[in-house]
Every structure is written in C-alpha cells, then in structure tokens.
C-alpha cells in the first residue's frame, strides 16, 4: 500500500499541480493583504493618526459606565464584560484592534476561503485524480497489475487526503508569511470572542468566552480541513463516475457556486439545509453569524457533511471495483 501511495504522490508531484496551487494561493494572498492594508489605512485616516489608544480608552470608560447601570439584563452584562476584557487586552498589549497582525489576517482569510476558494483548490487535484487515468489510458495498465482494485483506489484517496492537508498547510503558511510582512507577526495570544449559539429566539450568548487567537485558529484550521476533505471526496467520486475531467469539474463547480447563491436565498426553504453546499461555512458558527437556514448548528452541518462524505466514498469504491473498463 505504501508503494502505491508513493506512486500516486510521484504522479501528483510530476504534474506540478501543487506548485500551481501554491502559486495561486501566493498571488491571491498578496492581493488580499494589499486590500486589507488599504482598509486599515482608510480606517486610520478616518480616525486620525495613532489615536486608537485614546479611542479604546474612551470605549472602555463607556462600557464601564454602562456596566454600572442597574437596568442591564444578566446576559447583556456578561457580554459587555467580555468585550471589556478584550478591549483591555488590546490596550495592555498595545494591539490596535483595527490593525490586524498576521494571525488575524489568517483568520479572516480562512473564514472567507472556506466555502469557495479552498474547495476550488482541492478540486483542481481531486477532479482528475481518477479520470485522468482514463483520459491518458493508463487505467488499463493500473488495473491489470496483480493488485486489487480497491487498493488502487484507496491509494489514490489517501494521496488526495495528503494533498489536501498540504494545500491547507500551504495556505496557512503563505498567508502567515506574506501578511506578516505588512502587519507584523504578533498577536497569537490576542483574545477573540467565541461560543455563540444561535437559537430560535436569537443569539444565545450565555456560553460566550474569550479564546486565545492561536487556539481559535487551530479550530478554524480543523474546520477548513474537514470541509476540504468532504469537498475533495465529492470531487473524487465525480472523478470516478465521470470519465471527463472537465465535466466532473464543471459539476463540482456548479454545486459550489450554487451553494454560495443558495446561502442568500434559502432561508424559507427548510429542507435545503441537507444540501452539502449550504453547510460549508462552518467557521461562521464560531463567530456567531446567523446561519442561512434556521435551526442549522455546527454539529448539524458537520453531520450533514459527514453523511455526504460517507456516501460519496462508498459510491466511489463500489463503482470503481465493479465497473468494466472499455
């Protein structure tokens, strides 16, 4: 099995797909960094230079004043306290909350890349990992070895998972290195608010807590990885089912884009929440953004994605081991 995986990795590297993906990520991260930099600059111009400390101090005073009021609900009071802690941290550690360091940039980048950009990069590899063997014709050589078919497919799948992990590592590393050049590399321990629950009545903030940014990022990376594996597996299945790489990519792309569109319009169509593509924005749950359809939670979305993952993996193996190769 190890040898088979070695084979797949050899082909993957020889095709230079990973290099292309790294280049794309690199270029885009430069773009995003510049955009972010412009944003920060505008903010600074608006507020006047370097008086963010004063503003932060003013906000802290405001919040403290509000906390002393007796008419506050407990929940609201708690939230204010947390926000106060966060602001105090920024002030103590000399971090401008409007001016992100590299870790904050990574977080923003991941949150925006999870439903389209990362899946797209994964697709570049997953879509042709099986169908290209058909289009070159090498599948005939691959399947006439004294190796069982499921092993051949398994080696491809494991290689795909390795490649996906690599892509995410590359994305993390490049966004860290490049954005750090502009924003600096500090801020790993900056606190970030998380733990929201969206319930029927609105945002439930009873479990809200502050988390170190690096811990938060680890969770973000985990979610992004999970989404990437699910999308990769779906593309992998299409690669098994559809001989043409272009057609497989087209189907997958259509599904992903429809997800982005559906997110904005399905709030009243409840059963749409079982589509995999509306469940991709897992990182939103961490931030407390409202989900596209009422009743969706992090665990619900992960379950839906898990079912899609399991089904497509099962179909891939069933079809690949049974199908006649002409």
């Amino acid at each position: 099995m190890n040898k088979l995986i070695q084979n797949e990795m050899m082909k993957l590297i020889a095709k230079k797909r990973l290099v292309v993906i790294a280049l794309i990520i690199g270029v885009l991260v430069v773009l995003f960094t510049y955009a972010q930099y412009k944003d920060v600059q505008r903010e600074r111009d608006k507020l006047g230079t370097n008086d963010w400390r004063t503003i932060l101090q003013q906000q802290i005073v405001d919040t403290t004043n509000r906390l002393s009021s007796s008419r506050l609900s407990d929940e609201w009071r708690q939230e204010l306290q947390i926000s106060l802690q966060q602001k105090q941290y920024y002030l103590d550690h000399d971090i401008n909350p409007a001016e992100p360091g590299a870790p904050t940039f990574i977080r923003i980048f991941l949150e925006n890349a999870i439903d389209l950009f990362i899946p797209l990069m994964v697709m570049v590899i997953a879509s042709d990992i099986v169908s290209s063997e058909h289009s070159i014709g090498t599948v005939k050589l691959l399947l006439t070895r004294p190796v069982r078919r499921w092993k051949v497919l398994m080696s491809k799948y494991i290689s795909l998972c390795l490649a996906i992990s690599l892509i995410i590592a590359i994305a993390g590393l490049l966004s860290f290195l490049i954005s750090g050049l502009v924003f600096g590399y500090k801020g790993w321990n900056a606190p970030i608010i998380t733990g929201f629950h969206v319930t029927g009545s609105g945002l439930n903030t009873s479990d809200v807590k502050l988390l170190d940014l690096w811990k938060f990022l680890m969770m973000d990376f985990g979610l992004v990885w999970f989404v990437a594996i699910v999308v990769g597996t779906l593309a992998f299945m299409l690669s098994v089912l559809i001989r043409s790489t272009a057609a497989g990519m087209g189907v997958m792309l259509a599904a992903l884009i429809s997800g982005a569109i559906l997110n904005n319009m399905v709030s009243s169509w409840e059963s749409a929440k079982y589509f995999f593509m509306v469940n991709l924005r897992l990182t939103d749950y961490m931030q407390g953004n409202p989900p596209p359809i009422e009743g969706m939670t992090l665990s619900f979305s992960m379950m839906v994605l898990f079912v899609w993952w399991a089904a497509s993996l099962a179909i891939s193996f069933l079809v690949f081991t049974k199908k006649d190769v002409f």
Binding site: K11, G137, K140, L141, R145
Partner: protein
C-alpha cells in the same frame, strides 16, 4: 510431447445489455508459442483481451492463467501475466524510468535490477531518463513491452502490437516477439486485424468474427489445403486447353495458369504437358495467404 498449457479459456461469454458480444470462446495457449487472434474490427478481439486481463468481467466462462482461475484469485493469476491493451499508454509527464518504477512498485519482488534488465532488453537504456512525451511511438511501444515484462510473466498479451509502427519498427517488433517466445519460453497472445502480420508472426491462429471463433489451427495447416501451382506454358493456348481438361484452372492476367497443388497429380499433369509438346517455362508452388482463407471463412466480411 505437448508443452504445458499456460492460458486456458473456456466457454467465455460477454453480454452487454441484450447484445451478445462474445459467444462462447474456447482456446488454449501453450508455453513458448505465439498465438494469433485474428478478426476484423469489431469482431470482439479487444473485448476478449480485456476480459483476459481483468478489465472486463465475463458474463460466464472461465479464464485460467498458469492454472489459476482469474475470478477466484485475481492477484495470483495476474501475477503471471503481462499485457499491453491497445496503445501502450504510459504517463507522458513521467520519465521512462519512473514509469517502469511506478509499475514495478505494483508488482511483488520487482526491484531496480529488474528495471535495468528489461530496459536493456528493449534497448531503451540511453533514453530511459527522458520524459515519455518526448518518445517516438516505437519507443513508447518498447517501453510498453518493458513494462509488460517487468513481472517476469509466463503469458504476454499484446493487443495490436504493431499498430502505428513504421515497417522497420514492425519487423523489429516481430523479431522481438519471436525471441520472447522461442528463447524466453513465453506464451504470447497477439491480436491483429492484419493478416500478413499474423501469418509471419504466429504459430497458431484463431480466426474470430462476430464474437465466435471460426477456426483455430496452425498457420501451416490452415493454409495447406489451399496450395496452388502456377504454370507458365508455351504455347499458351494449347497448354491451357490441355490443363483445363485435366483439372479446374484459373487464368491470371500475365499468361499464368493456376491449378490446385496435389502431390501425385501435379507431376502427372506435367508429364502429359511435356508429352503433348507444350514447354513448361515455369512451374511454381504458391503458398496461399491467410487473406483468401479469411475471406472464405468469414463470408467476405470486410478486412484490411
């Protein structure tokens, strides 16, 4: 004594939808022989070959490679088999060496030494580290064979091995296949739609049309019944009339007469001609070509 059977195919059938593509094929391959699989395009050659190498599952029937049933023990059966199905499609973005390494990794006990060995055998040592996309078709064909030989197979299956090669390439390939069968003792199954090809290359031939084997026999025996004698006579008319009174004749354009060949009768006709004062300018035995036989057997179905 007959050599042991290396590939046994019994009552092989394949039905796709409602169409019966292959109807009961039965044949054997013996050690050290080159077996030809001859038929027009669409006769079922490629489908049969794909069943033999495990790409297509037969509807019924058994395939045994060196005594191992392909269906029951896929790994062991295919361990004794090397093949090229249609064109030798290898990874163009890898070097020849990496292609071989790739397929060697899929075989038990095949190391770098064996890769070097087969590379030398097919004469690719100099270019082996170049990318396959820079290879000529002949070189790809040779790399394909090297790949098929990696696992020291007992049975080699080649689908249209000379397809697309130039004449010198075809001859080279033919000599190489004969060498593999005669010196290395491999059984080689070759499919082709080219009659001349099969005739020069194979010991035995199965003629297949519409999913059925019409006849299996050695090349010599298939042709033996149809040997002819070509006569050039002077004076032509007198000789022709005399011969036609003795047997069935066939006249060709350049004043030559064809009759059947018969060990006893042919010298007798010769004597009668000479006695009648006809000079026999030339008398030559003509080996027939498979083409005629093929047309006869398949009822004139189109063939190249």
């Amino acid at each position: 004594m007959e050599k042991p059977i290396t590939l046994a195919v019994k009552e092989l059938r394949k039905v796709i939808g409602k169409r019966e593509i292959i109807k009961e094929l039965t044949f054997d391959l013996r050690e050290g022989e080159v077996f030809g699989f001859l038929g027009p395009n669409g006769a079922g050659k490629t489908t049969t070959i794909r069943m033999l190498v495990g790409l297509i599952k037969p509807t019924s029937g058994t395939i045994e490679i060196c005594g191992t049933n392909l269906k029951e023990d896929f790994q062991k059966a295919l361990g004794n088999l090397g093949c090229i199905v249609e064109n030798p499609e290898l990874y163009p973005f890898l070097s020849g060496y990496n292609n071989l390494l790739h397929f060697a990794r899929m075989l038990p006990n095949v190391g770098e030494e064996r890769i070097k060995e087969v590379t030398e055998l097919v004469g690719l040592t100099e270019r082996i580290h170049d990318k396959v996309k820079t290879y000529s078709l002949g070189m790809r064909q040779r790399l394909g064979i090297a790949q098929a030989l990696l696992g020291r197979p007992k049975v080699l299956i080649l689908d249209e091995p000379t397809n697309g090669l130039d004449p010198s390439g075809i001859r080279e390939m033919r000599e190489f296949i004969r060498f593999l069968a005669e010196d290395e003792g491999l059984s080689v199954l070759v499919s082709s739609h080219l009659l001349s090809e099969i005739q020069l290359l194979c010991d035995r031939v199965a003629i297949i049309a519409k999913g059925l084997i019409i006849r299996t026999d050695t090349v010599e025996r298939l042709l033996a019944n149809r040997e002819q004698v070509a006569w050039r006579l002077s004076p032509f008319e007198k000789g022709r009339d005399l011969l036609s009174s003795l047997t069935v004749i066939e006249e060709t354009d350049n004043q030559t007469i064809l009759t059947e060949f018969h060990e006893q009768k042919t010298p007798e006709w010769n004597r009668l001609l000479v006695e009648a004062g006809v000079s026999v300018l030339e008398m030559s035995r003509k080996m027939p070509v498979l083409e005629d036989l093929f047309l006869e057997l398949t009822g004139g179905e189109a063939i190249e």
